[in-house]
């Protein structure tokens, strides 16, 4: 089967052991054929998937029965395949036989089925649920008339999907994979393989199964905070056609009209990622002045200098330059996606920096580049916050800070010159989305790495036994927004710190101590006045391994999953950073 239109598979990540991912499927059609595709897609993202398939047409039954062997091992991910062909065969095959009332009834019945299934699941599992959306029949039963009807087949399926989306949002940690979009991408004839339907009630063809599995894993990866953060772009034959060093600033191909319009399109795709909060960087073998001249002198450039957070334009190898970019931006190599048209460069990066994801833009096919970039899903997240939209601005502020730092000799006076202002306050309804996102995306300065979804965060807000403190920071160069979070829970033996994290944007500014001080102040109000905390190691948070030791916490015990501490009396910290301009703390009045 042809896969000419699909993007190249994402490159394998990390050279670490894959983490286990337990998948359970619930279905009313045969989808067992997806197993090898799920495993392959999981492997690409660094997980080792195991899949348990539900019984044919056993969705509600198995969702409701917590004792069913399918739940024997706690799943991480539940995939639901509820095909209308089984669920509502009349809607699919006999649509013209249905009157308005019967349609209404069917829509209500299916909504009830979705809601009951999700309620039943949520009684015994908080696992991520991915529900595969209902499919619009590619050839509607009324033919050309369908599109003219107020409630034709297509519109009814759209209603069902809207209903599904609402139920999933209500259930929490539930998401949709739009099957219609996959069908549109690969074509209905590839999407369905009717032979398997008649032989085994298996609707989907091989190309569909592969793409469904890929989308499932994109959602999973996004929920795990594994979305990549920074797009590193080659320049010649990537951002524009030709080589600026040879063809000259006016000789390169870049225009809104042919020739060069495919590069124009590619830059728009890049800029869309920037608008979603992706950081942009340049990594190019060139004379630096040549590249910036293109940015300044070619009005057809969609990207502007202000969009670029870091650049390594020189004749050093790209591996070295990628390391520099990660260091300059203070992000991990595993946050980078490197795009180049040169197979040599791509292979070298794959070989020497396996953590960096790569996208090879096929030479001579520049018209596909934008689609390849967007379809890769590397940057897909489950939310885009106001902070994300401002990220580019923030990184501009960061380069101003770098300039300040270069102008000042010692770190202390540099930090003081920044006039850092800290504000700590309890979580509010309005900050839930950003707070949840912080727990999902922060990896380095993160003591416990507990990922909290939006619905769970809302529960914490309502729970009198819990408190969540948020940390906001600004300085003379700009506003960092919400960059830290502490989550506390009262217990009989004192207050437990359940989450403590700081965005990498503000590491090294001493603001973590203000947040810890606020936690201690809260804990001092409790009885007994003790703050318990722990360090749970992951492959990425070595930065804070000794944080609690260095802040005078007593180590109670060391176990295989981490180190557990407490601070008796929740005594204040010995010293607070002197360079902070102001610290404004508001504590919840009634906690603990």
């Amino acid at each position: 089967m042809s896969s000419a239109s699909s993007p190249p598979p994402p490159t394998a990540p990390l050279g670490q052991d894959p983490r286990p991912l337990r998948i359970v499927t619930l279905q009313n059609v045969t989808v067992d054929l997806i197993e090898p595709h799920l495993r392959a897609a999981a492997r690409e993202s660094g997980w080792a998937a195991s899949v348990r398939f539900g019984q044919f047409d056993g969705i509600l039954q198995q969702a409701s029965n917590a004792e069913d062997p399918i739940w024997a091992e706690t799943p991480d991910l539940v995939l639901v395949f509820a095909s209308l062909e089984t669920l509502a065969p009349r809607l699919v095959w006999r649509f013209p036989s249905l009157g308005p009332e019967e349609i209404e009834q069917e829509v209500g019945r299916i909504g009830g089925f979705v809601a009951s299934t999700l309620r039943a699941l949520r009684r015994h599992t908080s696992a991520m649920v991915v529900w595969h959306g209902f499919e619009t029949p590619p050839i509607p039963a009324y033919g050309v008339l369908d599109a003219q009807l107020e409630r034709g087949q297509s519109r009814v399926v759209a209603e069902l999907n809207e209903q599904l989306r609402l139920h999933l949002a209500q259930a929490g940690n539930g998401f949709v994979v739009e099957m219609d979009r996959i069908m549109a991408r690969i074509g209905a004839d590839q999407f369905y393989d009717r032979r398997y339907w008649h032989l085994a009630r298996a609707p989907y063809g091989r190309a569909a199964l592969a793409e469904i599995a890929r989308q499932d894993l994109l959602l999973w990866r996004a929920a795990q905070g594994r979305a990549r953060k920074c797009l590193v772009l080659d320049c010649d034959n990537t951002l524009w056609g030709g080589i600026v060093g040879e063809d000259g600033v006016s000789g390169i191909r870049l225009s809104s009209e042919h020739p060069g319009s495919s590069y124009h399109y590619f830059q728009q795709a890049v800029l869309s990622l920037y608008d979603r909060g992706v950081i942009l960087a340049l990594c190019s073998k060139n004379n630096e002045d040549d590249v910036w001249s293109v940015f300044r002198e070619r009005p057809e450039m969609v990207l502007e200098e202000r969009h670029i957070a870091a650049a390594q334009i020189n004749w050093d190898d790209k591996v070295t330059n990628l390391r520099r970019i990660a260091r300059d931006l203070n992000i991990g190599l595993d946050s980078l996606v490197f795009v180049d048209d040169s197979e040599f460069e791509i292979n070298m990066v794959r070989e020497l920096l396996p953590e960096v994801a790569t996208l090879h833009l096929p030479p001579g096919k520049s018209e596909l580049a934008g689609e390849i970039l967007t379809a890769s899903g590397f940057f897909d997240t489950l939310s885009v916050s106001a902070e994300d939209r401002r990220r580019g601005e923030m990184y501009r502020a960061e380069s101003q800070r770098r300039a300040l730092r270069d102008a000042v000799d010692d770190l202390g006076s540099y930090l003081a010159s920044l006039e850092i202002a800290v504000r700590i306050c309890p979580l509010e309804e309005a900050t839930i989305a950003r707070a949840a996102q912080l727990t999902q995306r922060t990896n380095q300065f993160n003591l416990m790495t507990r990922r909290v979804g939006e619905s769970e965060m809302r529960e914490l807000l309502a729970d009198p036994a819990s408190a969540v403190l948020t940390l906001q920071v600004r300085d003379r160069c700009g506003d960092y927004g919400m960059v830290g979070l502490a989550q506390l829970r009262r217990a009989e033996d004192g207050v437990h710190l359940e989450n403590f994290l700081l965005s990498c944007r503000v590491i090294g500014r001493g603001v973590e101590d203000t947040l810890l001080a606020a936690c201690l102040e809260l804990a001092r109000r409790g009885s007994p006045p003790t703050l318990h905390a722990c360090f749970l190691p992951t492959d990425r948070n070595a930065l804070v391994r000794d944080f609690l030791d260095s802040r005078g916490f007593y180590l109670d015990r060391e176990e295989s999953d981490g180190r557990f501490y407490h601070r008796p009396g929740a005594a204040p910290l010995d010293a607070m950073p002197a360079h902070l301009h102001s610290v404004e703390t508001t504590l919840p009045p009634d906690f603990p």
Partner: protein
């Protein structure tokens, strides 16, 4: 062609290629379940660039039958 068929079988069913005899069939190979059969057909179609008919698929239950069907399609 027979070697290539066997190699697809060995991949799909996770068996060493030596474990697949010339007269191997659904009756002699344990992992060749009804679901395994569909997986096998999908892989064969991809490897050989062919498309079996709906009526043919249930009959391709031995190396010999597969070889015969492929020869007919390829000729």
């Amino acid at each position: 062609m027979r070697t290539k068929i066997k190699s697809v079988l060995s991949q799909v069913f996770g068996l060493p290629i030596d474990a697949i005899a010339d007269d191997a069939s659904q009756a002699t190979l344990e992992p060749w379940t009804s679901m395994g059969h569909l997986n096998l057909i999908m892989s064969l179609e991809e490897s050989f660039g062919v498309r079996f008919s709906e009526d043919q698929i249930p009959q391709l239950t031995s190396v010999a039958a597969i070889e015969e069907a492929l020869s007919a399609l390829k000729s």
